[in-house]
Amino acid sequence: MTAVETKQLAGLQQSYLTMQRIRAFEAKAMELFASKYIRGSVHPYTGQEAIAVGVCEALRDGDYITSTHRGHGHCIAKGLELRPMMAEITGRASGYCKGRGGSMHITAMRHGMLGADAIVAGSLAMATGAAYGLRLQGKDAVVVAFFGDGGAQQGIFHEAANLASVLDAPVVFVCENNQWAISTPISCAIRIDNIADRAAGYGFPGIVVDGNDVVAVREVAGRAAERARAGEGPTLIEAKTYRITPHSAATPTDNRDPGELAHWRERDPIGRLAKHLVESGATTEARLEELAEQARAEVEDAAAWALDSPYPEPAEALEDVYAPADWLTPGRLA
């Protein structure tokens, strides 16, 4: 084994740990929803972990992401801390957004997380504008916009992709094709095999990648980020994957074929990475189990910390509707 390979395998153990953190976070979030500590819903990222982790590992400090309603994985992969994340989704004052955003709207500017957006494909134009703005300021930064296969049928996807192309905005569009809306299969939504093919219509590269292979994802994301950084414009990455849990905590019914689900469980990105690491001799199953246990312990700590945190004061509901301004005096607004 070369030194480079050894280093890569060590790095992959970090990827493994991050993926296990996401897996454990979502399991805990579902548990907290069931016990009514979480309101609204939770959209687990379970089964898609390799995409967020592979993409975010290809980014640098100073790069940004936008996310979706299924966004916990992106946050964890981008380096957000588990405690304020858990506090946010349990509605606590110590959450990243002081309990105003919740599960679908985690923002953490200090970690390069521009925000999670619960409007399908809603963040793509914002990501394009942020990327262009950073370039205008002379910064060497890239913005990644995550969205799902459903988002590829929204008008704003087409508008944003085209605008990003004509402006050579340093943005990477990452479409996580998990093949299902809540209950509608992708075959009912599009008549092409690959969403990535649509990139040709906007004049930039579209790449299909196995979204359950963290190494492959990191490689294509790295190339797309380099291209964006070099001023050559956007890339559309379509990462083929599958969510192996129901759509959300609030919609637990799953009408998908059990055989299809079993097929994808066998391709679980965490299991695949574990197999690769053990078979290559980089590590042992026992060591991987230690990492998984570490991830679960971190999540338990975060949950305990969150549940021990106070709720926001009711009066905080009216804070931050507006940024500070001279005119912002009581009684002016309503």
């Binding site: 990243y96 409007i119 990501a127 605008l163 507006y322 002016r332």
Partner: protein, 331 residues
Amino acid sequence: MSTVAVRELTMAEALNEALREEMEADDSVLVIGEDIARHGGLFRVTAGLLDEFGPQRVIDSPISEAAITGFGAGGALVGCRPVVELQISDFVSLAMDQLVNHAAKWRYMSGGQVSVPLVVRGPISNAIGMAAQHSQTLEAWFVHAPGLVVIMPSTAYDAKGLLKSAIRDDNPVVFLEKRLLYSRKGSVPADEYLVPIGVADVKREGRDATIVAAGAATHLALQAARQLARDGIEVEVVDPRTLKPLDMETIAGSVAKTGRLIALNEGARAGGFASEVVARTLDHLSVTDLRATPLRVTAKDAPIPYSASLEREVLPSLNDVLESVRRAMSE
């Protein structure tokens, strides 16, 4: 003592000066819109900016209202001050998700981590036969969205000073310009000045009745006031200039003085801004302060039709204003 130089500028020229001055003063200001760079905007508001500031900051966009609005919000998140031109303000319907679900809420949803210093501006093109999809006065939509600031100037002076304030404000601002006012001239000082957000202006003083009207409606109110003065009725015309935040101190103060309120607005009647002015005034005053029932003068609840005779029927007329004031005076 030196005299302050004052020029007569059209509102379009005044807005153009505001953009030029703010772009000169602050590199983070950029403008994007349809036909705004090479052509200088359909109504010349962005004329000459491309030559002066270059294509990186003065951007001719594809016809994608939603994307350019979201683009502006995204640029604002990372510290730019984008000004998005909607070629016609009605096209905001295509961009409402980006404006209301994104620009207006991002600060709040993030717990105050970000601000969105964005201006979305465009003309209201009614009264010139542009028909139902180019002639709406939609300010009530924006006033109803927490997080937005809404501005509608009536003069060249106010337009320039308010656009400069809007660009400097850290909040998303919807800036509505009446197309018929673009060519209307007004006095504009040569020296730099700002008009503060949230401060109304009494355009004419009077003791008998208050008309609250912004944008083009201000001029209709002034026309009515001049006519009524011949009959000895002195009308006070209050131009809020900013619809959100609304300067209730000035509005309620005026109504407390006159005892009569006519809320005039070119938008549709139901759920409209005139209704808001009446309700907000009643929040501030007691019934005993009033000498007459507050009245609304608005467009009728119909889309804006094409034919001149039909459009005149739907939009509020001088006669509607005169009748309302006289009705209030007769109570």
